[in-house]
Amino acid sequence: MIESNNIFALLKVVYVIYVGIVFSLVGMYVFGLTAKTKVRPGIKVPFYGWVAILVFFGVGIHIMTFHKIPWVKWDLSRNTMKVDKEFNIAIADYEYQIPEEQLVIQRGETVRFNLESRDYTYGFGLFREDGTMVFQMQVVPGHSNDIVWKFDKPASYTIRSTEYSGPKGANLFATNAVIVSSEPAVAQIDKDQSL
């Protein structure tokens, strides 16, 4: 399964290339703009063609991520999704009230996290040991805040609030609070065998 760090490894390359292209285009434009002899541009983009390109990229990115990033579909259909495990976590007075010391998940399990805030708006994010983020969501008081995620790699994750909730909120994290064990979930074995 594609993970966020795979996507961002690609995005870093794309972003650097994009910045390079923008600088190059501006540089070429400036050269043409200030040259004493009139420079003919190599590529001519008609106005409405340019608008079409913008619409294509603006809308296309959402269509692409909908099809390529699995958690978009999980998110949109999470109310009807069947999950293997469910964890209820409360946050109050800058503390996570986690039901167990460590939330143990078996590899391949789909999990729903239900978060409740009893005072402020917090965040709920899972982070890898190298600091990169797996996912996050806002935890708004007075509302149900849930996220569904499928874990298919053994790992240990730290929970951290991803929303500012006052200076005390800076210490709102639980190190290695989520453990994904290397034992595959029974449901996953059944599924693999059926294949």
Partner: protein, 531 residues
């Protein structure tokens, strides 16, 4: 040196805004570098103090600096372009005074009282027991005074556009033109091949300023409104009454608040910026704007777009309905890429038609501003996606690759382009002393701004949050050291610009923009602009 006694009232007014704006910009840069030092684990201050600096930083940077400079320029440009008098000079003076007082009180609320609900002010954090009622009251009063100044600007600007003192004109066509509707009508006439295109009543920059100011009113209404609620809570706290916070739904509040707040970024900044580009492009090229009817129509489209994009800030709020996330958060937001792209195309094409052009400071900074938005807007579109936002939300990517790229490089360089273009007009043809300092300003600002924003963007992609501290954790130190290096170039840029301006105007001239000093010698110079 500047002969302030020879300036007309409108020139003085614009210069007052500019001086205050540049001083606040210096403060914002200082705050930025202090926070950057803290992020690379120099223990300069406590965590509450760090967040207090973070509270003040955007208010000083956006309202104290950017709004102030834009308002000063518009107070000068609107009457000049319309060839009529400003509606009220007094209201103009009151605007910068109130805005200065308001921003200063907000800064005090953070510096002295450690009020730090931050820019987002998510309910009920600002009115909670986490902050002293003095801090809350100071922030609320500061914001109310600031927004009063913003309202006065809007009123004065609308009144200047429509007042009938100099010449009687029917209001209806003026309003249609100010909204950009005549651009649509002309496009329609051309499409059906009938009728003659009508000459627009309002100059295009006026349409952009007018359109942006509509969003400014709405933004001030929301920010001022929540400040009144904050003040009410603070007064009750002083009286020993502990008010419940349950009466306001946190998610509804978030929607309302972001609707108003987002008008700053997605409404008025993009529109004011487009207007400034169009003005500069026509001034620099000496030609009419390319596809001006489309430009007018696009400004009206942006009105619809800017009012319907706020939900991209709530893509990670699970209680927010999916339909709002997809339509407002993703699809309508994507059209900001289109409207900004149209403005870039029209500006570049207008300049291109006038080539060869000399690379003057306004042109350089204008192209720098376009480059900033070309990098910052797509970064915003990437994060305004359900899949990407699940990770990028609230990370350094948002405030770096998107926010600071747009504000520092895009908006900042556009405003500097306007500053360099208007400088001779505001000072009766005074020229800046040093081309070298102008060049240093340009290159250090461009490289510093882009480098810092990119370093922050990379930190965000690696998981660094934007409003968090990492004491004793060196995971993101390399990113922040790079950001600090490029950030320090912004200080060099600022100092080069200020040295150039102050040495050109003179200390005496600078002071005499505000007060008349004794012993001044009056020399007759012809004003560059008569109003």
């Amino acid at each position: 040196m500047l002969q302030a006694a020879n300036l007309n009232p409108l020139q003085k007014l614009a210069l007052r805004f500019a001086v205050v704006s540049l001083l606040f910009y210096g403060l914002a840069i200082l705050e930025g570098i202090i926070m950057r030092a803290h992020q690379i684990n120099y223990e300069l201050m406590t965590t509450p103090h760090y967040f207090a600096v973070m509270e003040a930083h955007p208010m000083v940077g956006i309202f104290g600096s950017s709004f102030m400079l834009a308002f000063g320029a518009f107070y000068f440009l609107v009457p000049t372009l319309l060839k009529k008098n400003i509606y009220s000079q007094r209201l103009g003076e009151l605007t910068w005074i109130l805005m200065t007082i308001g921003v200063s009180i907000i800064w005090i609320s953070a510096f002295f009282f450690r009020f730090a609900a931050l820019y987002t002010n998510y309910w009920p954090l600002p009115v909670s027991k986490e902050f002293s009622p003095f801090g809350l009251a100071a922030f609320a009063i500061g914001n109310i005074i600031l927004m009063t100044g913003v309202f006065l600007f809007c009123y004065n600007l609308f009144a200047t556009v429509f007042h009938q003192r100099d010449e009687k004109k029917p209001i209806g066509p003026m309003l249609m033109s100010a909204l950009g509707i005549d651009g649509f009508i002309n496009l329609y006439r051309r499409l059906i091949g009938r009728g003659v295109e009508k000459e627009a009543i309002m100059p295009l920059p006026i349409v952009a300023i007018f359109r942006g100011t509509i969003d400014t009113v709405l933004d001030a209404f929301v920010l001022g409104g929540i400040s009144l609620i904050f003040l009410y809570h603070a007064i009750n706290s002083f009286m020993g009454v502990n008010l419940s916070t349950d009466w306001f739904d946190a998610l509804l509040y978030k929607n309302i608040y972001w609707w108003g707040l987002d008008l700053i970024a997605d409404g008025l900044v993009l529109i004011y910026v487009a207007g400034t580009w169009y003005l500069l492009a026509t001034l620099i090229s000496g030609k009419e704007l390319y596809m001006r009817n489309v430009a007018r129509a696009a400004l009206l489209v942006e009105l619809i777009v800017s009012w319907n994009v706020w939900a991209h800030h709530l893509l990670s709020d699970q209680a927010q309905p999916n339909i709002m996330k997809i339509i407002s958060g993703e699809m309508v937001t994507a059209f900001e890429l289109v409207t900004m792209g149209i403005a870039i195309f029209i500006t570049l094409k207008t300049l291109w038609e006038a080539r060869p052009l000399k690379m003057t400071p306004p042109l350089k900074f204008l192209l720098g501003g376009i480059l900033g938005f070309s990098l910052g807007v797509p970064a915003g579109i990437i994060q305004a996606d359900l899949g990407m936002n699940r990770i990028l939300h609230n990370t350094q990517w948002v405030i770096g690759a998107h926010g600071h790229m747009q504000l520092l490089v895009g908006l900042g360089m556009t405003l500097f382009a306007a500053l360099y273009a208007l400088f001779p007009m505001l000072t009766n043809n005074l020229q800046l002393k040093s081309k070298a300092l102008t060049n240093i300003h340009f290159w250090t600002h461009l490289i510093g701004g882009v480098g810092m924003a990119m370093a922050m963007g990379f930190a965000g992609m690696d998981g660094m949050l934007r409003r968090a501290v990492y004491p004793g954790d060196n995971t993101f130190q390399p990113h922040m050291i790079v950001a600090a290096f490029f950030g320090s170039l912004l200080i060099v840029a600022y100092l080069a610009m200020m040295l150039n301006i102050i040495s050109s105007i003179g200390i005496r001239g600078l002071i005499e923009i505000f007060i008349k000093l004794p012993g001044g010698e009056r020399r007759e110079t012809k004003p560059a602009v008569q109003t």
